[in-house]
């Protein structure tokens, strides 16, 4: 007899569904810092809490909303850093069409104008903030060709493309360039990075800083 979910009595399935519903509720768990206190010594937790305690002793309870807002903003920053790390390699990036098309056009245009048409591009591809250009190098990376590539890279740098990597092949070189543009993410990542409450968190921090300035006067 083949196993199926139907074999489990309905009330057990309902019980498990209730447990899962609670566990999937984001505010339902004991906070990480409390679990942390379970395996860390009192001295370790006191050391980890030292900057927080000194801040709280100094500013007291009125600073709590701003502190909470800053914590949320830090979480957003951490999320963005993890997304940047996940997009560090060319192979991991998805294409930002608008930027990629414009940059590929610029790459081709600059190649024609640098060194009087001596550079031949086999292929160029841009993705999210990285571009790969395959340049024909039939004689390898000799001094003349190196000077030409450096001139090409310097011209592209003026167009916001920094040198990132260079790989030498048999009859070609692969030049990788990086822009400092903001990465474009998918719908869900962008939504997670810009939640509706973000403006409120920024306003809370700003309000607290304003209060501090006012108190100083």
């Amino acid at each position: 007899m083949r196993w199926s979910l139907e074999l489990i009595p309905l009330h057990y399935r309902a019980l498990a569904a209730g447990i899962c519903a609670y566990l999937l509720w984001p505010f339902a768990h004991a906070p990480q810092w409390q679990w942390q206190a379970l395996w860390q010594s009192e001295a370790e937790t006191a050391a980890a809490l030292a900057p927080l305690m000194s801040f709280y002793t100094k500013y007291g309870e009125p600073a709590l909303p701003a502190l909470n807002a800053q914590l949320e903003l830090n979480k957003l920053r951490d999320l963005e850093l993890s997304l940047i790390a996940a997009n560090a390699d060319f192979a991991d990036q998805v294409r930002d069409d608008t930027w990629a098309e414009a940059t590929e056009f610029m790459i081709a245009h600059v190649a024609q104008n640098v060194g009087a048409n001596e550079l031949r591009i086999y292929d160029s591809e841009c993705r999210n903030n990285l571009c790969r250009i395959e340049l024909a190098a039939p004689k390898g990376l000799n001094p003349e060709f190196r000077a030409l590539v450096l001139k090409y890279a310097a011209t592209l740098k003026a167009g916001d493309l920094e040198f990132h990597d260079l790989k030498e092949g048999k009859d070609r070189i692969m030049l990788e360039l990086k822009s400092d543009k903001r990465l474009q993410y998918g719908y869900f990542e962008e939504r997670a990075l810009k939640p509706a409450a973000r403006e409120q968190w920024l306003a809370e921090v700003k309000a607290w800083l304003g209060t501090q300035q006012h108190n100083k006067k």
Binding site: L10, H11, Y12, R13, A14, L15, A16, A17, G18, I19, A21, Y22, L23, P26, F27, A28, H29, A30, P31, Q32, W33, Q34, W35, Q36, A37, L38, E42, T45, A46, A48, L49, A50, P51, L52, M53, S54, F55, Y56, E61, A63, L64, A66, L67, N68, Q70, L71, N74, K75, V205, W208, L209, Q212, Q213, K216
Partner: protein, 76 residues
């Protein structure tokens, strides 16, 4: 015609609520039983605010440090 749940469906809904409440109770007891750093004992307001955020002690301290930096920059 209006839909009416069968007895079996009502029992299943009861088990769903019971499962939800049981694990919520267990979690609540666990939150009470888990140790809290001794330095937090004299600061109940801070301790209460911290319980609402599922982050590490370091993340709390980083937020405090960042806020202090912002305050210094705002004073310049």
């Amino acid at each position: 015609m209006a839909w009416h749940p069968t007895t079996q469906q009502k029992v299943a809904a009861g088990y769903f609520v019971a499962g939800f409440c049981a694990i919520a109770l267990l979690d609540g007891v666990l939150t009470l039983l888990l140790p809290k750093p001794a330095v937090l004992a004299p600061q109940p307001a801070l301790s209460k605010a911290m319980t609402r955020q599922d982050v590490t002690l370091e993340q709390w301290s980083n937020a405090a440090e960042r806020l202090e930096e912002k305050r210094k920059l705002a004073r310049l």
